[in-house]
Symmetry: C2
Subunit: 335 residues, 2 copies
């Protein structure tokens, strides 16, 4: 094992986390799926495709050689879209050892298996794999620009969380530790679904009060799903829940918000996805969450409605009518 | 008692709630502090000063006659800045009866007494006064425009909350009931303090990640103060907590956000307050919350720093340094 850290995935987020680790003195093997991106970083020190305008530290070493990137490395940060995560992990099996720590940067739920990223890791490497989750309100470009940012680091093993806090914390980056690996991952997945919902409202001409209503009820759905999956609902009040939701849904920079806006404005889903260029993972998560609700016999009204608008041609107006038709909660009625 | 409802205060919010009640069929006595505004509404049906562009229903009857507005009326909705609330309530004593219900629309904490609006009502009318609180993410103009809006109605008496839900709910307006009068009022007050804090960051050039960090930690301070004052921290996860905070802090329309931005950009506080024209009540609340922290020997880092920037010439950079210098929370350290 050496002091080099591996980051898997040259998207904006993987590259940004590589810049953070490099700023803290680590050498980073940045495994790139696209050879052109690796070559360009080597040549120009810029990742123009995914994180333009950021000059990358020479300690970030792009490679397309998977074994070179992951073998003999103790910490692997994976920033792979959930859809491709299992496939990538299977490549990593030959170099995997139980001393290795896998840090999840992905946000989402695998379709059909309905597993969260750490559960996919357990599934591929076996339950003894050491995992942690890194999540919170953090636009990639701002982290790369050393803007003040705080995130949650979740690990069931306390020592591991402490090691990661030590590796990541610096003058501009502030990680908070928690045990609740499940709650943090539910937040990371559902915030994209709720953000698409808010985009739908925007696109269809609804206003700020209505969006704040949807966001608040969406946060409650996050808590409900976290509880059902064995997490702690209070985790969703933190950086990886409400913090990330607010950043993604109320900022202007998120692809999932743009996806919702386009669909809410009348563009067919497939065209909207295509027009955004990169993967808007939220649309996949919308489907996974819908499957998960069916599996657990759970009705999360907003998540269900976002699914129905995206995949069953429901109108945004009908979505709002459904929300307004829910029985009023008389929490004191039972007394 | 008759079916007429009284709204005290012709500001944007009082006027907007009057439009909601009128839309639901009630006649509304709108008590105006400024005779010019009352006259203009009578003549033109517009409240140009506080809620322009909204044609007011003829069922809204402006008056400057306090006794006429409040006597023989069962429900009084008060939308008076907290600073003036006690003085206005003292005028209402001659017509007050214990059958009357007072619904609080004000948000803040009285200076020196450190009382929340319902506590000021108790203080003036005696403990038997029936009170409720109406709070949540609701820009006045959008309510008046019949945009879909949801809020929290808090009342310790369950029947009262149900009566109010019946009066207020309609196709575009959705109230949720809770018992937690304290938690709802803490949310309404502190969201203005946190919003000023976010404005300070904006004005001083900090970015989205940093604002989401402040917002999330600000929500935790709301919960902490609610707990100390006898409220339920979970209330702050609802419409009157996080919902209202997100609307106020992330939208563009709030005066408290603008106040923070001006001060964060270098304008002296008094000049910033003056330049905003109307009362920006948040600056008063910043002082009250600071006094409350001292009384309860409580250090809410963000609330304290906002106070120090506004009233003690601390820089926004120093505020951020203080936040970043707090010990990292190792929630697993004790094991």
């Amino acid at each position: 094992m050496n002091k080099t850290i591996c980051v898997l995935g040259e998207g904006a987020w993987g590259t940004a986390v590589a810049t953070l680790l490099a700023a803290n003195g680590y050498t980073v093997n940045l495994w790139c799926y696209e050879p052109e991106v690796a070559q360009e970083i080597k040549r120009s020190r810029y990742n123009k495709k995914y994180l333009p305008d950021i000059k990358l530290d020479p300690k970030i070493q792009p490679t397309i050689d998977f074994a070179h990137a992951t073998c003999d490395v103790q910490f692997v940060f994976e920033a792979i879209p959930v859809k491709y995560l299992r496939e990538v992990l299977q490549q990593a099996q030959s170099c995997y050892t139980p001393e290795q720590v896998w840090v999840v940067l992905s946000k989402g739920i695998e379709q059909d298996s309905l597993l969260l990223p750490t559960q996919i890791l357990d599934n591929v490497f076996g339950d003894e794999v050491q995992t942690a989750v890194f999540s919170g309100p953090s636009f990639a470009k701002e982290v790369a620009n050393k803007e003040i940012t705080a995130v949650t680091i979740a690990a069931t093993e306390c020592n591991l969380a402490e090691d990661l806090l030590g590796m990541l914390a610096n003058d501009f980056f502030r990680p908070y530790a928690t045990h609740d690996v499940i709650g943090v991952q539910v937040g990371g997945a559902l915030k994209n679904v709720i953000t698409i919902g808010i985009g739908l409202l925007d696109g269809a001409g609804y206003t700020e009060n209505t969006k704040a209503f949807l966001l608040t009820k969406g946060l409650q759905e996050m808590k409900e799903l976290a509880t059902v999956l064995g997490g702690d609902p209070d985790t969703l009040d933190g950086l990886s829940g409400v913090g990330d939701l607010v950043l993604t849904a109320m900022g202007d920079a998120s692809r999932n918000l743009q996806l919702g806006r386009k669909i809410g404005g009348g563009m067919p889903r497939e065209q909207a996805v295509e027009s955004l260029g990169h993967v808007a993972e939220g649309a996949n998560t919308v489907q996974s969450v819908y499957q998960l609700m069916q599996k657990h016999n759970l009705d999360l009204v907003i998540c269900r409605n976002v699914y129905e608008v995206l995949f069953e041609d429901k109108s945004v107006d009908a979505m709002l009518e459904d929300l307004m038709a829910q029985p009023l909660e008389m929490e004191c009625a039972g007394e």
